[in-house]
Structure formats: structure tokens, C-alpha cells
């Protein structure tokens, strides 16, 4: 072996060693970032496990049937009864009111911004919509409490303005930004050729919007509505402050009521850890979680499909 080849071999060995060290470092980093990626799953699973662990034991006390369909929520009487029908119906009513207002208004606004408005109008309107999205829910609750509820009370001649209707109107404001922005994106994704073909057939601008743009973007608009519904179902502070807090099953949106989120928020402070009320509230949380999860999963699937529809 010559001297030269020996030094070459040494250099090669050194390089190999260095490369291995590099590779080792890279591996550690790769593993580390992988673990943090898994953390997202861990948190989601953690939420599920916790809700199951703390919530499911209530069903040994109150069978699921009675829990879901029971109309009496008396957590501190002897013996306590846990029926969540009042909360479930309240959530349904409040969400329905919110959706009934937010869908036509939100889709109309999105159609205007995407199809009719000049760029200048759009550039002015968008930050204002973001502003609406940025107002904290407790502030929306305050507005409902101080300004809207007296108004609703006098217009509908009610004993109290703190009711499902007032809460629903405030919720509609809070779900509007997401409905508008997702619908607008869907409308903008419709290829311009569609519109031009309709114009060529002599359609007016409104007819193009009505018969071409909105039908073509329909699944995206549907996803937007679902996201808005998910928002309304999960919203807590506004309904806690504005919906009235009555514990009976409401018969109309003009009555005071307690949606599921508000039931958790108002009850958890008095619940003893591991006690029956504590378990019942976690079970409500579990149901709430499943409802919003379903809504979001479906909306995501629909959006994915919409995206592929016009992908070229």
C-alpha cells in the first residue's frame, strides 16, 4: 500500500464518518419534527379520550335513552335527574334562527362581492368582514345583552328580550364572515368560460349568477353553510349571556333557553370533580364534539370535491 492511497483512504474514512454524523443529526431532527406533527393527533385523541373517560360514566347512572330524551335537568335535587332534551332543543332552535338569517344574507353578500362588485368595493368590504370575524364572542354577547335584547323585547312584545331569538340573531352575525368568505372563494373558482358561454346565449348578469355561477359553486356554498352551522353550534359566550338560561324545553325561539354550550359553561363551576353533574357535563361536551366534528368532516369532504371539480 502506498502512502498516497493510505491518505486517500483516511480522507475517505473521515468523510464517511462526517457524513454519518450529518445523517445522524438529520435523523434526530426528522424524528423530532415528526413527533411534533403527531402532537396534533395527540391533542385531538386526548380530547376524545378525556371526554369519553369523564363523560361516559354518567350512563351507568342515567341510561342513554333517559339522558338524551329526558326533559328534566335537576342536577342538585335528591335524586338528581339528567335529561338534556332542553339543551339539545335550545341548540337546535338557536342554530336554526342563525342559519335562516345568515344563509340568504351571507350567500347574497358573497355573490355580490364575487360577481358584481367593483374591485374597490371589494377591497373596502373585505377588511370590514374580517373585522366582524375578529370581534370576540364575549363582546358580541355584550351587544346582544345591552342593545339587541331590549329591541327584540319591544318589537315582539315579550316578557324578556333574553331569548333564543336574540341569541340566534347574534349568532348569525358571528357565522356570516365564514359563510361569506368560503362561498366567495367557491364562486371565484368557477371558470370564466362558463359565464362567457351564458353571456353569448344572451343571458343578463343576474341570470348568469342565478343559473350558472351559483349552481356551479353549489357544493362549495353548501360547505360554507355547514361551517357556519358548526360555528353557531359551538359558540358559547354569546348564548350564555343572551339566550336567557331557562331550563325547560323551549316551545318557541322567543322563550328563554339554555343551549348545550351554555349548559356546560354555567354548570361546570359548581360541579364536583368526578361527581354526577361533572360527568353529565362532559357527556354534553362529548355530544357537542361529535356534532361539530361531523359537520366539519362533511364540509371538508365537500370542499375537497369542489376543488377537484374545476382543477385543470
Amino acid at each position: 500500500m502506498t502512502k498516497q492511497s493510505a491518505s486517500a483512504a483516511a480522507a475517505e474514512g473521515l468523510e464517511k464518518n462526517l457524513r454519518r454524523r450529518w445523517r445522524f443529526g438529520e435523523r434526530i431532527i426528522e424524528g423530532w419534527v415528526f413527533l411534533t406533527g403527531l402532537l396534533a393527533i395527540a391533542v385531538l385523541l386526548g380530547i376524545v379520550v378525556l371526554l369519553l373517560k369523564e363523560g361516559v360514566p354518567i350512563f351507568f347512572h342515567t341510561p342513554p335513552w333517559e339522558f338524551f330524551f329526558g326533559t328534566k335537568w335537576y342536577p342538585v335535587s335528591e335524586p338528581p335527574t339528567f335529561g338534556i332534551m332542553p339543551f339539545f332543543v335550545s341548540t337546535l332552535m338557536v342554530t336554526l334562527v342563525a342559519t335562516a338569517i345568515a344563509v340568504p344574507v351571507g350567500v347574497g353578500c358573497a355573490a355580490y362581492l364575487a360577481e358584481v362588485a367593483t374591485p374597490r368595493v371589494r377591497e373596502t368590504a373585505k377588511p370590514l368582514i374580517e373585522l366582524l370575524a375578529g370581534i370576540p364572542s364575549v363582546v358580541m354577547g355584550l351587544i346582544g345583552l345591552m342593545l339587541l335584547s331590549p329591541l327584540v323585547q319591544s318589537i315582539f312584545n315579550l316578557p324578556t328580550g333574553l331569548c333564543g331569538l336574540t341569541a340566534g340573531i347574534m349568532l348569525s352575525l358571528m357565522s356570516l364572515p365564514i359563510i361569506v368568505s368560503v362561498s366567495e372563494d367557491a364562486l371565484r373558482a368557477v371558470p370564466d368560460e362558463f359565464r362567457q358561454a351564458a353571456y353569448a346565449l344572451g343571458a343578463t348578469r343576474w341570470e348568469v349568477i342565478k343559473y350558472v355561477s351559483i349552481p356551479a359553486a353549489l357544493s362549495g356554498v353548501a360547505a360554507a353553510i355547514m361551517l357556519g352551522v358548526g360555528r353557531a353550534i359551538g359558540e358559547t359566550m354569546t348564548v350564555l349571556m343572551v339566550a336567557g338560561g331557562a331550563l325547560a324545553v323551549p316551545h318557541s325561539p322567543t322563550e328563554p333557553m339554555t343551549p348545550m354550550t351554555a349548559a356546560i359553561a354555567s354548570g361546570i363551576g359548581n360541579a364536583v370533580k368526578g361527581g354526577l353533574q361533572y360527568q353529565a357535563l362532559f357527556a354534553i361536551g362529548l355530544i357537542l364534539f361529535i356534532m361539530t366534528l361531523a359537520v366539519n368532516l362533511i364540509a371538508d369532504k365537500v370542499l375537497e370535491r369542489q376543488k377537484q371539480k374545476f382543477a385543470r
Binding site: T36, G37, A111, Y112, V116, E207, I268, T292, N296
Partner: protein
């Protein structure tokens, strides 16, 4: 006959466009009215004393200094805990993740985390941080809860910011012999930094406005002093606003509006800050 049909079509277009404009006004105007009302009703009460003194008489007198400080601690904590994890997870998803079921599951989890109601995060924080980890109703427990909630947002914005860096950067760097991590560390992260920071600032703004989770995890309504350590109880603006508005009888209305104004200024100023960062980098890059 024919002209009449055209006239009626044009008329229906007029009516329809009128309705669309009306819908847009209904979306845009409330935000302005709400902010105007809060500024007008709240500004009169805000003064040096209100901002720097602790509350007295159940919040009816004195100031809201501990609540302001508490809110800033919460925002800072959310930033500190959720940003590094968000960035790391974003790097993984954008640069390292193979296209397989696990990556799809992670992305799915992130989308769903963003949709979980805030009150459910509160229950999660109560069960995990307050009770299981025995942190008690403390500033630390509340911060960790809010950070978990912010995670979905910081991960998503980091991933998008990293993905937006052009491919050529990566190819050039790898071609001159840099390793993958060197490329990420020295080329991609600096490019993606404004986008990542924007997301984190938005997450802080959200954390300042969140009320339901800290209500469950246990913010204090009245404290004379400031929290001395992360295991102390704390006041927060959002929670303070909720209690003075809904639970203190005979509360002077002006004081309630003033608390709302301070909260709104904190939340919206961080919102605006995020927008400025975003616009400035867009200008620098493409202008």
C-alpha cells in the same frame, strides 16, 4: 312582446342586485356600528386611573390593571407554547411528511381541531391540566389550554408559509451540497418567517378574546395584585367583561363599555398588526 320580456328581465336584475347590495350592507355595517358604539360609550371612562389601578367594590370602582396584565400573560404564553410546536409541525408537514395515511390523518386532525368548540377545549384543559396534571386553576393551566386551541392555527399558517417558498430555493441549496435540515433552517424558514409570525400574532389576538375556556379552567373575578408566578390565579379582560356585564348587579354601564373597549383595542390591534406584517412582506416580495 319581446321587448316586454327584456324589460322584465332587466327589472328582475335590478331588484336582485338591490337585494345583493342589501345583503352586503347587512354584513358590513354591524361591525362598524358595534365598534362605534363601544368607542363612544366606553371612551369617557378610560383614563390613567382605570388602566393602572386594581378594581374595587366588585369592579364598580377602581381600574382593570390586573385584567390587562393577565390578558397579556395569556397572549404571551399562547405565543411561547404554540409557536415552536406549530412551526415544527408545519416544517414536518411541508418538507418531510411522506404521502401516506398517517400524514392524511394528521392533516385531518388539524382541520378538526380548528372546529372544536372553545368550551370543549375548556373541558379538555380542566380535565388534563387543572386536574390530571394538578396545575390547579392557574395562569399556567389556562395558558396551556389556550395554546392547545391555537395549535391548529399556528400549524396551518406555518405549513402554508413554508409551502409558499418556491421550489428553486430548495433545489439550489441541495445542489450545492446542503443537507435537508440546513436548507430548511437557513433558506426556507427565513423566507417563511413573515407568514409564520402573522399566524402566531393572529393566534394571540384570538387568545385575548377567548372567554369560555378560561371560564372553565378558572380565571379569578377579582384580584388586588398581579399573579406572582404561573401557578397563581389571574384576571383576564374577556372574563372580567363577562362577569361585570352578566353577574354584577348595579354595574355602571359606562364601566362595562370601557372594559369592552380596552378588550377590543387589544384584540383588534393585534389583528391589524398581523395584517400589516402580511401586506408589508407581500409588497417587498412582489412590489
Amino acid at each position: 312582446m319581446r321587448t316586454r320580456a327584456i324589460v322584465s328581465r332587466q327589472l328582475s336584475q335590478r331588484v336582485a342586485f338591490g337585494l345583493l347590495v342589501l345583503a352586503t350592507i347587512i354584513v358590513v355595517v354591524p361591525a362598524l356600528l358595534i365598534i362605534l358604539k363601544i368607542v363612544i360609550s366606553g371612551a369617557g371612562t378610560i383614563g390613567w386611573e382605570f388602566l393602572t389601578q386594581p378594581p374595587s367594590q366588585a369592579g364598580k370602582a377602581g381600574g382593570i390593571f390586573p385584567a390587562i396584565v393577565g390578558t397579556f400573560y395569556l397572549m404571551l404564553g399562547t405565543f411561547v407554547f404554540s409557536l415552536p410546536i406549530g412551526v415544527m409541525a408545519g416544517i414536518y408537514l411541508a418538507e418531510y411528511a411522506p404521502r401516506n395515511w398517517l400524514t392524511r390523518a394528521i392533516n385531518m386532525a388539524i382541520i378538526n381541531l380548528a372546529g372544536v368548540p372553545s368550551i370543549v377545549y375548556g373541558l379538555f384543559g380542566l380535565g388534563v391540566f387543572v386536574l390530571a396534571l394538578n396545575l390547579g386553576m392557574s395562569l399556567l393551566a389556562a395558558t396551556l389550554t389556550l395554546a392547545c386551541q391555537a395549535l391548529a392555527m399556528t400549524i396551518t399558517t406555518s405549513r402554508e408559509a413554508i409551502l409558499a417558498v418556491p421550489r428553486e430555493y430548495r433545489e439550489g441549496s441541495l445542489a450545492i451540497g446542503a443537507t435537508k435540515w440546513q436548507t430548511v433552517r437557513h433558506l426556507i424558514l427565513p423566507q417563511a418567517r413573515p407568514g409564520i409570525i402573522t399566524g402566531a400574532v393572529l393566534a394571540m389576538s384570538r387568545a385575548a378574546g377567548e372567554t369560555a375556556p378560561i371560564l372553565v379552567v378558572g380565571a379569578a373575578f377579582l384580584m388586588r395584585g398581579l399573579p406572582q408566578s404561573p401557578s397563581d390565579q389571574f384576571m383576564a379582560l374577556a372574563y372580567h367583561l363577562y362577569t361585570v356585564a352578566a353577574h354584577v348587579p348595579g354595574m355602571p354601564k359606562d364601566t362595562i363599555w370601557a372594559v369592552a373597549l380596552v378588550l377590543l383595542v387589544v384584540v383588534l390591534s393585534f389583528n391589524v398588526l398581523a395584517t400589516i406584517i402580511r401586506l408589508r412582506t407581500r409588497q417587498r416580495r412582489y412590489g
